[in-house]
Amino acid sequence: MANFISTLFKKLIFKEPDEAVRSDKQTSSKPFDMEAFQMNDIKVYALSTCIHCRNAKKYLDECGVKYECIHVDELSGDERKQVVDEIKNHNPAVSFPTIIIKDKVVVGYHKDKIDKALED
């Protein structure tokens, strides 16, 4: 039941790829299965003002994967402190974007490293 609700929720929230995208995916050169990634598998710690963050998110969108994005500059107080501590655990430099793909961490907008992390 919980799974059904979760699937229904995802379907309502996220646009299903249309047929053109689906057929494109079959011939895509991307070596990973984008449907293997769930929303909570990829987390992007970003700044709303940062161009590298924007480009990285655009690239993830092009890859067709879902991700959660946290704009740290828009947080304040304890929430901000907690998120910065979280980032520090993955990337002590606390630089942006910090992208968590399952158990991999990609710091900065490196397409090749994002591809590699998505493949693994």
Binding site: L47, T49, C50, I51, V72, V84, S95, F96
Partner: protein, 110 residues
Amino acid sequence: MDAKQLYEMLKKVQEPKGYYFNKDMEMTMPLLESLLINKERLGYMACPCRLANGEYEADKDIVCPCTYREDDVKEYGACYCALYVSKEYNEDSGEKEVVPERRPPENILF
């Protein structure tokens, strides 16, 4: 002031110093817009690609142009955001290197 005006104003000051705006306007204009957002939010133009502390004294090193720009442009041809670049960087059409963070993490106050 809008981003275009900021562009014209800074260009006059920075180009004679050897710092050029990235010719990729899809980088430069959003970055200038972000600088204006930070000016509005914080009262100073903190680097848009770094997490500002929110107090001028604590963010002095990342007020654009940041204190790391000189070394980064020297070493990588571009500042951390790739807003300011060298003349050669703009002339080179090859793949650009990602500039690593040079700001010491202890400068982020948490």
